[in-house]
Symmetry: C2
Subunit: 341 residues, 2 copies
C-alpha cells in the first residue's frame, strides 16, 4: 500500500475560544492510503496541548508508510507496528481511519454497517458556543437555533450569566458546559445548584487533568450533574482510571489513535457504567466521518468540528434532526472535494 500525506488549512466561521486558547483557523493533516487503485482516507488533528504538531504528524505518517504492508484487512497488526513508532495519536488516527475506509470500500459497505450498527440510534450532536461576552454568547446561541444540543465553553468571565442567556435563547435544547480544566473543586461545587436550575446536562473537564485527587474529591461529593472527563481520558487505561473520578468519558479519535481504540474504550466504559461522549477537534468532514461511523454506540455526541468551518476538504456527511449521519457509501462515506491524490 502507498501512503500520501498533505496538510490542509480550515478557516473557522468565527473565532473558536475556549478557556486556554483562541483560534481563527485550524491546520489538519490528511492521508490517502492506496491499495490496488482503491483509496482510503483519514485525517489527523494534532493538538499542541498534547505536544503534537502538523509537521510532527506529517513526518510520522511518512515514516509509518513502511509499516503498511499489502493487506488492509490486517488492521491489528498494522496498527501494532505503527504504534511502536510512538504516541503521535492524531497521526495514528489518520492511518487507522484510512484503513477502515479501505476495508469498507473493499467490502462494498459503510463502516457502520460492517460494525453492525444502527444509524437510527445516533444521538443529536451538540454545537459549540465559544467563550464570548454575554451579548456575544446570546448572539451565538440565536444563530445555533437548528441544533438540539449546545455545548457552552466556560472558564472565562460571566460563566453563569452566559449559561443563563443561552438557556433563555434555547429553552428546549440540551445544554452542556465545558470548562477545559479552568475551574476548581470549590467553584464547581458552588455553581452546581445554579446549573441544575438551568437544566444543564453535564459538566465537561472542570479541573486540570493532573488533578486526579481533586477529581476523586469532587466525585465523592455526588454532585447532581454528571462530570465527563476529556483531557483526563485518552486511551483504554484512562477509562478504568476514570472510574471513581468522573461519571463519563469524552472519547475523541484524535486522542485514542482512531476507531479501533475508541471501540475498545466504548465497551470498557459501558462495562464500568460510565456515560460515553464522543467528541472531536476542529476538523474537516474527513476527520468527523470515522467518529460518525461509531456514534450509534455512544450516549452523547459532540461532533460539530466540520460545522464550524467556512471551508471543507471532503463531503458526504449528512445532517438530519440535529444528528450528524454517516452516509450509505462504502467505507467512511466521504470523498475529497478535489482530485486527491
Amino acid at each position: 500500500m502507498d501512503l500520501h500525506v498533505r496538510p490542509f488549512t480550515l478557516t473557522l466561521s468565527e473565532p473558536f475560544v475556549i478557556s486556554r486558547s483562541a483560534d481563527e483557523e485550524a491546520e489538519v493533516v490528511q492521508v490517502a492510503i492506496v491499495h490496488r487503485g482503491v483509496v482510503g482516507y483519514g485525517e489527523a488533528a494534532p493538538d499542541p496541548h498534547y505536544g503534537e504538531s502538523v509537521p510532527g504528524a506529517i513526518e510520522f505518517c511518512e515514516q509509518a508508510a513502511a509499516d503498511l504492508g499489502d493487506d488492509p484487512f490486517a488492521i491489528e497488526a498494522i496498527l501494532g507496528r505503527v504504534a511502536a513508532r510512538g504516541d503521535k495519536m492524531a497521526a495514528r488516527c489518520a492511518i487507522d481511519s484510512a484503513l477502515y475506509d479501505l476495508v469498507g470500500k473493499l467490502c462494498g459497505q459503510p463502516v457502520w454497517r460492517i460494525l453492525g450498527l444502527d444509524r437510527e440510534t445516533i444521538p443529536p450532536t451538540s454545537y459549540t458556543i465559544s467563550i464570548d461576552t454575554v451579548e456575544g454568547t446570546a448572539d451565538r446561541a440565536r444563530r445555533a437555533a437548528g441544533y438540539h444540543a449546545l455545548k457552552i465553553k466556560v472558564g472565562g468571565p460571566d460563566d453563569l450569566e452566559r449559561v443563563r442567556v443561552v438557556r433563555g435563547e434555547a429553552p428546549d435544547a440540551l445544554i452542556r458546559v465545558d470548562a477545559n480544566e479552568a475551574w476548581t473543586v470549590e467553584f464547581t461545587r458552588d455553581i452546581c445548584p445554579e446549573l441544575v436550575a438551568l437544566n444543564v446536562e453535564l459538566i465537561e473537564q472542570p479541573l486540570p487533568a493532573a488533578a486526579t485527587e481533586a477529581y476523586e474529591e469532587l466525585h465523592a461529593m455526588q454532585l447532581p450533574i454528571p462530570i465527563v472527563l476529556d483531557e483526563s481520558c485518552h486511551t483504554l487505561p484512562d477509562v478504568a482510571a476514570a472510574w471513581g473520578r468522573g461519571d463519563g468519558v469524552n472519547i475523541k479519535l484524535t486522542k485514542s489513535g482512531g476507531i479501533r481504540e475508541a471501540l475498545r474504550m466504548i465497551h470498557a466504559a459501558r462495562a464500568l457504567g460510565l456515560r460515553i461522549m464522543l467528541g472531536c477537534m476542529n476538523e474537516s468532514s474527513l476527520g468527523i466521518a470515522p467518529a460518525a461511523q461509531i456514534s450509534p454506540l455512544v450516549d452523547i455526541v459532540d461532533l460539530d468540528g466540520h460545522l464550524l468551518n467556512a471551508n471543507d476538504a471532503f463531503q458526504g456527511l449528512g445532517f438530519e434532526r440535529g444528528c450528524v449521519l454517516p452516509s450509505d457509501e462504502p467505507g467512511l462515506g466521504v470523498e475529497p472535494l478535489d482530485a486527491w491524490p
Copy 2:
C-alpha cells in the same frame, strides 16, 4: 431472512467428567439463517447448570425468527430485539454467530479479517483432562501428547496427585486446573504452593459463583497463581464485577450470547488489566468456529470442544502447532457435513 433450527447429538470420545457432572454425549442446537440464498450458521450449547435446555433453545430460536428482518448487517438492532425475548444465552449465541457468518459471506471475507485480526497471534488451545483415577489421568495425559496446554479438571479425589502425574507425562506443557466451584478458600490457599512447584499456570473457578465475598478474601491473599473466573462471569457487567475478585475471566460465547458481547467483554477486561481466557462447552466445529474467529484477541485459549467428540456436524477449523485456527473461507469458515438446510 428465514431461520432453520435442528438439534444435533455429539458423542464424546470418552466420558467428560468435572466436579459436578459426567457426560458421554452432548446435545447442541444448530441454526441456519438464509438471506437471498446465502446461509449463515450458528450453534447453541445450552447448559443445564444455567437453567438452559435444548428444547428451550429450539423454541427461543423459532420465536426469534420473527426478529430477524431482512438486513443481516443490522446486527446490533437484530440482537437487541432478540435479547428482549429473554436470557437464553446459548440460543442468542447461535443467532449472533449465524449473523456474523452471513456478514462475512456477504463481504467475501472471514470474520477474523473483517475484525482486522491476525491469526498469527492465536495462543495454543488447552486440551481437557477430565476427572479420573490417578492412573486414568496419567493415561489421558499420555494420549494428549500433541497439545501444548492441558487443562486438568479438579475438585474430585486426589487433585494434587493427578496434577503431579500430568506434569510427569507432560513436562513442557502449560498446565491449568479447573475446579468448577468445588474448592474452598482454605483448600485453594493451601494447595497453591504445590501447584506453583508444579508450574501450574492458573486456577479456574475454585469457589462457587455465589461466593463473591470469599473470592474477595482469596484475592486479598495475593496468591502466586492467577485465579480465572468462569461460572462467575457471563456478560459485560460481570467483567467489572470480576475486578477485585479474580485475576482473569473465562469468556464463553454460550454464556455471553455470542461474538458481539464477547468482544465488549474482551475490551472491558483489557481495560481493567484482567487476563482473558476464551473457553467453550462440548460443541461441534460450528460452535467453536465463532470463538476461533476472535481468539487472536485473548491471552488464554481453551477451545477443545470439537476435539473431544467422536463425531462432528461441520468441518473447516484448522489445527496447527497446538492452535485451533479459523479458515480462510468467508464468514465463520465452516460448512456442514450434510446438505443442511
